[in-house]
């Protein structure tokens, strides 16, 4: 049995010894360095570009513009709308305009400083509210990217039948992924003439296709390899360095390396969507929710990236993990000239969790009910209907997570003034929203008698390689881990889809189970389970050609109704409850998260240490989201003025693993990556209210915002 065991991660030794080759470590003989020249304006027409001084610099090999792109100059995870290199117009500060290739990194960067660009500024659409009424259009089709609704029952009638109604506005800001490793990669042409790019990425097959479109070559002539990747959190789902590297290799025929500085990563790459949320909640005196009405306005920046995804996912998760009979959600995403907002751990749901969890606490306070009791009363459970009227037929362990927290909640005691406790709950649909998002893999044998797993899953540090191996071992009934992993290479694997949406354990895990089932039948026929050694089976099979077993899984979902979003957008959901104890210094406005209990229904923990690792990391990110992280366009440049929590800001975390097994998942597993983060900020904000009487509705609740709110409260 490997499932449920703390198997040491397959990547652990290399990482501990420092021998793992991250994208920044990759080198090739005769390699060139490339860097990007970026817009210094948020919105402008490019009138003139003078590259003569850059070209004159000794050691500069090429200066590439959009004119040098042989294929299509547009990329995008959902829709192709973002130029690799700007054509005549820039729509955010940091947008890529040119690629400079030099014989050293220093020369390339020096040359980029010598490029002179003349701009003619256009109106800077600085927020979505300006965007919705400005006559200036960021794209010809208008400034509204997407409008999604969730309509269930009759919200108006629901409010009429309510004893108490709470209505508030919440807002969140841009968050940087702040992975330890910035975007980087290397590219070269191989002996077949194929373009090879190895990079720090969350999805290799998607990038292979984007490079093929960019260069107008067949995808079969592009090979993308995942280097050991130092974190992703959604930021390495979009094309980052890969397109520029491929373009530079195409034109120079030499190996090209590229790595963003931290400043460049902050400036150029995607951020978490800032959302403005108007939230109205109705309930009866007994605490049961009657209706929820939510208006979400989001800032997606000038290009789509994952804007539509966040718009829809935020809408369908807007009620939180509760039974609400009447729901009306309007979720709108507008273009602006701010940084491109993209995918980031939770796709809009952490922002909504702030709102629904704050609302629930206020309802509880108004009717004199305990915050835990009101959550238990309304919790989704097996048989419940979600906001999209999906019946939860299977794993739905929210109540178990609440029960896991209950003893600590009931026993809580304030440690003097400034001490407070808060709860946060969440549910999260595993996988993409209401669309097909399959994973494939294949298994074979080596002539030496080992099983070989070919996986296109990108392990970005979360541990999917180990988890998939554990699943395979158990699915084959192996007693020891006799498996070779061939991974992260489009030449040797099938498309597993992106490492995002907490989907790899569930979806790719099922694809592995599917392939394993077929291999198992074969092994059965060969007498493996009656004691015939695998070595012998493989040796015999090798003579006829080793058999290959394909695996595939696509979670069953339905497309959301275009008007009401009703349907079953996800095959399964993860659930969680966090309880956070804070200490607020009312003199300084400093809030310290002291202790967290985090209970997660993961279906089944394939690797308990991995699950706990995700929970600890999610809590850390939640502390940042709640208390300090804020990217301010035009101001934030680096970690000098972007505050990320340190180990000293981390609370003690006690992780509680709840296993309500999901019959459609591998050995009952669901996912935990994003859920680990989602309820934490909400729990902190609720704890601050408990500690100080002040309700913070804008994130981050940094020392200055909190102090000003405390002062205001004093005056009242």
């Amino acid at each position: 049995m490997f499932i449920g065991q703390d198997i040491t991660r397959v990547d652990a030794l290399d990482k501990v010894l420092g021998t793992a080759a991250f994208a920044h470590d990759l080198k090739k003989d005769t390699m060139l360095f490339a860097c990007v020249v970026r817009s210094s304006r948020p919105h402008a027409m490019i009138r003139k570009i003078d590259v003569s001084a850059a070209l004159a610099l000794d050691g500069v090999v090429k200066v590439l513009s959009h004119k040098d792109i042989p294929g299509e100059n547009l990329f995008g995870a959902i829709k192709k709308d973002q130029p690799f290199l700007a054509e005549g117009r820039v729509r955010y500060k940091g947008e890529a305009i040119l690629v400079i290739v030099g014989i050293t990194e220093e020369i390339a960067r020096t040359a980029s400083g010598l490029v002179e660009i003349e701009y003619e500024d256009l109106e800077y659409i600085s927020d979505p509210f300006l965007s919705m009424r400005s006559p200036i259009l960021i794209h010809d089709g208008g400034n509204l990217l997407s409008h999604r609704k969730v309509i269930k029952g009759d919200a108006g009638k629901g409010f009429e039948s309510s004893d108490v109604i709470v209505e508030n506005t919440y807002s969140t800001t841009w968050i940087d992924h702040a992975y330890m490793e910035t975007e980087a990669g290397i590219g070269y042409t191989d002996e077949r003439g194929h373009i090879v790019v190895a990079s720090s990425t969350q999805n290799i097959h998607y990038k292979m296709k984007e490079i093929a479109r960019l260069l107008a070559i067949p995808p079969e002539q592009v090979r993308v390899v995942q280097a050991t990747t130092g974190g992703g959190f959604g930021g390495k789902l979009d094309v980052t360095v890969e397109g520029y590297i491929a373009l530079a290799v195409y034109h120079t025929k030499r190996p090209v390396v590229m790595r963003y500085t931290r400043e460049e990563s902050f400036l150029g790459q995607t951020k978490r969507h800032p959302l403005y949320i108007e939230y109205k909640t109705g309930a009866r005196k007994d605490g049961s929710l009657t209706a929820v009405e939510v208006n979400i306005v989001g800032d997606t920046g000038p290009y789509i990236s994952y804007g539509e995804t966040v718009c829809l996912r935020a809408a369908v998760h807007a009620t939180g993990p509760y039974e609400v009979p009447n729901v009306l959600v309007n979720s709108r995403m507008f273009y602006t000239n701010n940084p491109v907002s993209g995918a980031m751990r939770g796709f809009g749901v952490p922002q909504l969790a702030l709102a629904h969890e704050s609302q629930l606490d206020e309802i509880a306070q108004r009717i004199g009910m305990d915050p835990l009791d009101i959550r238990m009363k309304n919790a989704l459970k097996r048989g419940s209907l979600t906001a999209t009227s999906q019946v939860l037929n299977h794993s739905a362990g929210l109540l178990e997570t609440l029960k896991g927290i209950e003893p600590f909640w009931r026993a809580r005691r304030k440690q003097g003034p400034g001490s407070g406790f808060g709860l946060g709950c969440m549910y999260y649909g595993i996988g993409n929203t209401g669309i097909s998002n399959p994973s494939s893999c294949y298994l074979t044998f080596t002539p030496e008698g080992r099983v070989e797993m070919h996986s296109g899953v990108c392990d970005i540090g979360q541990g999917s390689d180990t988890v998939l191996l554990q699943i395979l071992c158990d699915a084959l009934g192996m007693e020891e881990m006799g498996i070779d992993l061939v991974r992260g290479d489009t030449d040797t694997s099938f498309d597993a889809g992106s490492t995002s949406a907490s989907r790899q354990t569930y979806i790719s895990g099922m694809a592995v189970c599917d392939a394993a089932q077929k291999m198992r039948e074969y092994l059965e026929g060969q007498g493996y389970y009656s004691g015939k050694p695998l070595k012998d089976i493989c040796r015999e099979a090798a003579e006829k050609g080793l058999p290959v077993f394909n695996g595939h899984f696509d979670p069953p979902t339905t497309a959301p109704d275009p008007e009401t979003s009703q349907g079953a957008p996800y095959a399964t959901y993860a659930f969680a409850t966090h309880m956070t104890e804070v200490h607020v210094d009312e003199v300084t406005g400093v809030c310290k998260a002291v202790k967290v209990h985090a209970a997660h229904d993961v279906g089944r923990a394939i690797n308990v240490s991995n699950v706990k690792g995700q929970i600890y990391g999610g809590v850390a990110m939640g502390v940042g989201l709640a208390l300090m992280e804020e990217f301010i366009p035009g101001k934030t440049e680096s970690f000098d003025n972007y505050y990320l929590p340190t180990s000293m800001d981390m609370p003690e975390v006690e992780a509680i693993v709840v296993e309500d097994r999901e019959p459609t998942g591998p050995f009952g597993a669901k996912g935990v990556g994003e859920p680990a983060l989602i309820p934490q900020a909400a729990a902190i904000v609720n704890a601050i209210k408990d500690a100080t009487g002040v309700r913070m509705r804008q994130l981050p609740c940094d020392i200055e915002r909190l102090k000003l709110a405390l002062e205001k409260n004093k005056v009242k």
């Binding site: 990194e105 220093e106 960067r109 009312e586 003199v587 300084t588 406005g589 400093v590 310290k592 208390l627 300090m628 505050y643 929590p645 340190t646 000293m648 800001d649 940094d702 020392i703 200055e704 102090k707 000003l708 002062e711």
Partner: protein
Amino acid sequence: MLPKFASVIAKTREEALSWLSSLENPRIIAGGTDLMVKMRAGKQYNHVIDVAGVPELLTLTETDEGLSLGPAITHARLSISEPIIRNARSLALACGLVGSPQIRNMGTIGGNLANASPAADSIPPLLIHDAVLVLESREARRRVPLEEVIVAPYVTSIDRKELLSSIEINPLRGYREGYRRVAKRATWAISRLGVAFAIREDKGRFADVKLAIGSCTPMPFRPKKVEDLLRGAEKSEVIITEAIRMALEEIKLISGIRPSYAYKLPVLQGILEEVLRG
């Protein structure tokens, strides 16, 4: 990336002084936690003299008159130095809060002073200890009070050819001494506000009060009128309130009204209340 530059490593004070006098536009590096950041951002310093290993600049001597600190002593060392903890507790505390462990292991007290940031943690404690800087060149040697050395944010009156050779401070014994600071996160952060204090009380009176406030005005400063008001006064809520009012007034007089004061002044008020009440 760092721009190109030439550097020398001085082995003795004498050597440092002669490099200073002979090199054109020299720049002293003593840890580099500020200088390297500026250089990486594009500042060009052609001649860099590393004094971090000069033995004379690493000594800490305690005499009857006071303490003499070598300017190349790191924050880490000062934060755990027994004579500092005994004689200048606020300085030990402040040095223990600078940056991160890495920065404290590299950054030096002399560098912190010479950089003259309004938010330098070591400066308020040095101010309440009436620090005097010994500045030397090949030709001359002078002693200048710290208060006079910092002339504007990030600007000092130290000449390019001068070496900060020691920092002399008065010990404060029998004082309730400390350093309170506020930052945006638990560590590795620039102070939003720093208050060094040393208070001696006697039979319900403030016998002596020394205060210095950092990160609030262009240069960390001592509200001496407030100290005068409190010296010898009976310890009461009335006098504490008056003292704080005066301190806040003085800040507004120095800097005018700044947007950050909406946060800083109420916080300073709270900290001063706690500090003075004890």
